[in-house]
Symmetry: C2
Subunit: 192 residues, 2 copies
């Protein structure tokens, strides 16, 4: 099981870390000891918020070999919509089994063509922009269409991460990881 966390400039750090934290616990807490992940981007280093730097462990390499890609949202997502190099790179994930996004990251999945015929969600500020890319915008915290899972904004990253934990390792793993993350709201998430 191999996950690619996509990073880019002016993404939202919590969109990334909110999914990263529960997923990485699948490995550290022993549920999926062989779980591996890479931080994937188009440059060696991506400056994050002040004082934060993302060190890209796989630079501009094809995403075809991963089982999951995770695409965060954030202000930078809009500038990438018409960045041909980025979208072409994202499309190397076309055949992988699970593509997920947080917030406006779903616009990038949309531009790559991954939402055609599918329901999807995003940060509420991006609902209108999302419409042309998908069959229907659903106002739910998590929209699971099997091969593609989209989440609403920022803090929904945590709910998405816990949802993926359940898909990858089952209910018991999800409940133990939610407890370790001290997250009392795990069962309040609405799914569609």
């Amino acid at each position: 099981m191999k996950i690619a966390f996509i990073v880019y400039e002016r993404m939202n750090a919590l969109d990334f870390i909110g999914v990263y934290d529960p997923l990485s616990r699948l490995q550290s807490m022993g549920f999926l000891p062989d779980l591996e992940w890479e931080v994937c981007g188009l440059r060696r280093e991506i400056p994050g918020e002040k004082g934060m730097l993302f060190e890209v462990t796989r630079v501009a390499e094809s995403l075809a070999a991963y089982d999951v890609i995770v695409v965060p949202g954030g202000p930078g997502s809009r500038s990438l919509l018409h960045n041909e190099k980025f979208i072409t790179w994202l499309r190397t994930a076309t055949l992988i089994p699970l593509k997920v996004s947080v917030g406006s990251g779903s616009l990038l999945l949309g531009q790559a063509g991954f939402l055609i015929g599918r329901r999807a969600t995003s940060h509420p500020h991006a609902f209108l922009e999302l419409e042309p890319f998908c069959a229907r915008v659903d106002d739910a915290r998590i929209v699971d269409e099997g091969e593609v899972v989209t989440a609403r904004g920022v803090t929904a990253a945590i709910d998405l991460g816990l949802h993926l934990v359940r898909r990858l390792a089952g209910d018991e793993a999800r409940s133990r990881i939610a407890r370790q993350m001290d997250y009392p709201y795990a069962d309040l998430t609405d799914y569609q």
Copy 2:
């Protein structure tokens, strides 16, 4: 208004980012346009989770000039409890008006002497370790003792951040930032 985000090795990234996201929006969304922050630690660079690096913007400088310090928890907190250099450095914040922690970060506040005579909380795994440092361990998501505010584990970072937003900028700021963070659980937090 100046905030110091404390970073150290093997801290939990979500403990940091969960508070950082709502607090930094006080500035980016215009509620406190003069808000400033620094990332403070004892070395120029702190390696975070895989692919993440914290670039310390103020290395080993006194914390006395800040209005708020934010101390995350994580596995690394225990090794710092008996690190005299770190604890001595943390004590330079003794006289500042607001000292806050997430999870086992409260053990570090405790070791610095900031919890004497005060109630406090922590990650539930650290409740027993916390007892000797404070007047009483309270099992609440946020314990606000005025000059010191402690939060439970990991995801409580978000609730702490929103609580501080309210203290620093009022209810309207808190509710608008929670909406921007797409956080539906803001009013479920228990305070003591």
